[in-house]
């Protein structure tokens, strides 16, 4: 499989705060990804990893802090327009079950970019070939395996030609034998120049694919560094504890 050449842009979050009522989910999180690089976010459940992604693409509006895409703040932009520039892949795929695979992918380009039906379908088929599922174009998501569904979800996000991709525990819901295929695809994207923020429990992936690893706990970043730094010589006790549990 050849990696396509992708044009990722840099993404920065500074001092991000978010609370749901009295529950402070994010307490001043900073994050920076250079264009074309991959940041992996690890940490125990409930540490705020998934919420961080949703604040960065403004599915949740932050209480404080800023988000910069390609160096420019996007908090004043139309949030719908912002999200068109950031692709997102979910733990449970969230494909649209009432549409075929190709319709799932063609929907957003058609309705949001004003493509004709044929243009959108051609684009969708191109994306499907990229994830190796062109032969499933007319299937319903329910008739695909979990791994296939996740690859369709990735194709759906890529069809909008995003500048950044978010992966929210994209392999957590998959049977072990299906994980490899999805991880391989993600690795390809990273290699192809996409800017990626990956929330994952796959430590092998975090170590081998990411440029930077970020460890979060209780809504704050505890430690950041290269994979080697974090996995081989963790500085904080909390990261040591976490790694001893998951490795």
């Amino acid at each position: 499989m050849t990696a396509p050449t992708l044009e990722g842009v840099s993404l920065t979050g500074t001092g991000l705060h978010l609370a749901f009522g009295s529950n402070k989910v994010l307490r001043g999180v900073d994050l920076h990804v250079d264009a074309g690089k991959t940041v992996t976010v690890i940490g125990p459940s409930g540490s705020g990893k998934s919420t961080l992604l949703r604040v960065l693409n403004r599915l949740y509006e932050p209480d404080a802090g800023d988000v910069l895409l390609d160096g420019k703040s996007v908090l004043k932009d139309n949030p719908d327009a912002l999200r068109q520039r950031i692709g997102m892949v979910f733990q449970h795929f969230n494909l649209f079950p009432h549409k075929t695979v190709i319709e799932n992918i063609a929907l957003a380009p058609r309705k949001l970019k004003g493509m004709s039906k044929d243009e959108a379908r051609a684009l969708a088929l191109e994306q499907l070939e990229l994830v190796g599922l062109a032969h499933k174009a007319e299937s319903r998501p329910a008739n695909l395996s979990g791994g296939q569904q996740q690859r369709v979800a990735i194709a759906r996000a890529l069809a909008m030609k995003p500048q950044v991709m978010f992966f929210d525990e994209a392999t957590s819901a998959l049977d072990p034998e299906l994980v490899k295929g999805v991880l391989a695809l993600m690795a390809d994207l990273g290699a192809g120049g996409m800017t990626m923020v990956v929330v994952t429990h796959e430590m092998g992936f975090a170590r081998s694919v990411s440029d930077t690893v970020m460890f979060m706990d209780h809504g704050a970043v505890v430690e950041t560094g290269t994979p080697d730094q974090l996995f081989d010589s963790p500085e904080t006790e909390r990261l040591q504890q976490f790694l001893s549990q998951v490795l």
Partner: protein, 599 residues
């Protein structure tokens, strides 16, 4: 699944065959009235003449006539443009279908009966077209007072209480009340009735009033005469107080019942109801009545439809109207051997025979089917479909408002749903049909048909709205999130992704709602329909009223089943498909071949 599909097909086939067989037989032999069931809605003729009842209650005729006018305005001086008619040139008449021979629908589906024929003759004298609309007695006077009808024609006995609500013309008929009891009953007269007697009356009739206010007893109230009589025959009630015309009409030879006593009051003659303030119309009808009495038309119609001796001290029309020339009914009755009302009939039928004749009169099925197919079925479908479509659109709006984040949309939707789901369908239909009717008269042309459909739609919307809302809310939050993450706005995420899935999930519930609508459309009956507007139930009901036999209602029931049973099975089938779906998961080879390239 193959099995259930086959079962479904078999059920379809059986139903279709049934329908076909019934329609074919009814077509091939229509007109051949083999049933022998008498059509109660045709003139019985002079042969049925009866003398004044011999068993008249004491003191019944001792009263003074307070309401009959001394004379009438000359017919020539009446200006029909000043009668305040709903439709100029047309006398819109509210009448009933179930009290032959006074008022009924004949086998051609035309409103007729003695009262209506005399009214038509008067219409001719006045140069007015007469249009009849069927309704229920309980609402008739209110509808006349509310200008839904110009005239109410329903053998209405003119009591003081009713005169508070509407005005009346002079009398064109008179009424004895008859006391009908099962043969062998210990009750022999009105004086035998007491608090422990179960007395049947038709709701809102003068008999109801008589039992409650004069006898001070608590009667069992029925919606119509047939039901009351059927209950007497089956022993559900001990006695039935009925207008003597209806009592005599209902009791068929061989029935195990008889009239034991009659009563009469000269002030309670039978007249047409007109809105109280419309004195010009009352005057016009009075003039017309005197005119048809003078030229002999009244006597002709009276002899043809309700030939019986006039009571002592009463004649039709104003006091100035000529005495009508009638044959000597008492002599005729004696001659033709017609027994005076109240004598028990000779032979009695077995209960089984009675049941069979009541429910399974084949001749009546043959009579009912063409009418049910031509008039009833299309109207039921039109009502169910239009109200279904309108209800779905309105329900969709309610659902969207109900899950809206704006309180000003959510609350009204909630209140609407609570009210319309909490009320019985018939209440909504009556309130909308009779209450809103006069307000939007200009729009509906005083035709309650579409108001009825609207009432059904309003009712259905409340249920459909809840169905949609639950469907939409059952769609996983991830679907909305995925759509938003792609860049769709909230509204487009809703319309493109969430709502279509929600609707798909509730298709079975929607179908069930449609089935309910098919059944509820029968309630439109209460609003009063033209003969051509009658849906399945009304057609069956009218034929039932015409014949006093339940077979037409059973036939109407069959049509409902032919509509609803296949739909019910279709719902089950769709439900099954939606829940099980078609599974064909295969692992593609690529899945295993892919490896992590870096690492």
């Amino acid at each position: 699944m193959v099995g259930s599909a086959r079962k479904l097909r078999t059920a379809f086939a059986i139903l279709l065959t049934m329908l076909l067989a019934l329609v074919l037989t009814s077509c091939s032999s229509s007109g051949d009235d083999a049933s022998g069931t008498r059509d109660l809605c045709s003139p019985p003729g002079i042969e049925s003449a009866s003398a004044a009842p011999t068993n008249l209650a004491q003191g019944a005729t001792e009263a003074e006539d307070r309401y009959t006018t001394p004379d009438v305005v000359p017919l020539e001086s009446i200006d029909t443009s000043r009668l305040g008619l709903i439709t100029p040139g047309v006398l819109t008449v509210g009448t009933l279908s179930d009290a032959p021979p006074s008022i009924c629908v004949n086998s051609e589906g035309v409103f007729t009966g003695y009262d209506n024929e005399v009214l038509k003759a008067i219409g001719e004298k006045l140069g007015l077209e007469v249009q009849f609309v069927g309704t229920e007695f309980a609402g008739l006077l209110a509808q006349v007072a509310g200008h839904r009808f110009d005239v109410g024609s329903s053998s209405i006995t003119t009591t003081d209480e009713r005169r508070n609500l509407v005005g009346f013309t002079n009398g064109y008929d008179f009424g004895y009340f008859s006391l009908v009891v099962p043969n062998g009953s210990p009750i022999t007269g009105f004086s035998d009735l007491n608090a422990s007697t179960r007395i049947g009356v038709v709701q809102g009739t003068v008999q109801d009033d008589y039992v409650v206010n004069t006898l001070k007893l608590d009667p069992v109230k029925f919606p119509d005469y047939n039901t009351a009589y059927a209950n007497l025959k089956t022993g559900q009630i001990d006695a039935w107080v009925a207008p003597s015309q209806q009592a005599e009409g209902a009791i068929a030879p061989g029935d195990p019942t008889s009239i034991v006593e009659n009563t009469f009051s000269v002030n309670n003659f039978v007249g047409w109801a007109v809105a109280k303030e419309n004195q010009p119309l009352i005057d016009a009808l009075n003039s017309g009545l005197d005119a048809v009495i003078a030229d002999g038309t009244w006597a002709e119609l009276y002899t043809e439809w309700v030939p019986r001796e006039l009571p002592e001290g009463w004649k039709p029309g104003s006091k100035a109207a000529p005495e009508p020339e009638l044959p000597d009914f008492a002599a005729l009755a004696a001659q033709s051997g017609t027994e005076p009302a109240g004598t028990p009939a000779a032979e009695q039928k077995s209960t089984l025979t009675q049941l069979r004749e009541t429910f399974f009169d084949w001749g009546l099925y043959q009579k009912a089917f063409p009418e049910l197919l031509k008039t009833g079925l299309p109207n039921t479908l039109i009502l169910a479909l239009t109200s279904g479509i309108a209800g779905t659109i309105l329900g969709m709006l309610l659902a969207v408002a109900g899950i809206s984040r704006t309180r000003w949309l959510r609350w009204p939707a909630r209140v609407y749903t609570d009210i319309f789901r909490g009320l019985p369908a018939v209440v909504i239909i009556l309130l909308v049909g009779l209450g809103v009717g006069p307000v939007v008269q200009g729009l509906t042309g005083n035709n309650p048909y579409w108001l009825g459909a609207a009432a059904l739609a309003l009712l259905a919307a409340a249920y459909i709205g809840e169905i949609f809302r639950s469907g939409i809310q059952s769609v996983e939050a991830g679907q909305m999130e995925a759509a938003r993450a792609l860049g769709f706005s909230y509204r487009r995420s809703m319309s493109l992704v969430v709502v279509p899935q929600g609707i798909r999930r509730v298709l079975p519930a929607l179908m069930n709602q449609f089935i309910a609508l098919i059944k509820d459309s029968s309630l439109i009956y209460f609003l009063g329909l033209l003969a051509t507007q009658r849906e399945l139930f009304a057609v069956g009901r009218d034929l039932n009223a015409q014949t006093g036999n339940l077979s037409p209602l059973v036939a109407a029931g069959l049509f409902y089943l032919i509509l609803t049973v296949p739909l019910t099975h279709l719902v089950n089938y769709i439900d099954h498909r939606l829940r099980v779906g078609r599974k064909e998961v295969t692992l593609d080879p690529l899945e295993q071949d892919l490896v992590v390239e870096r690492g």
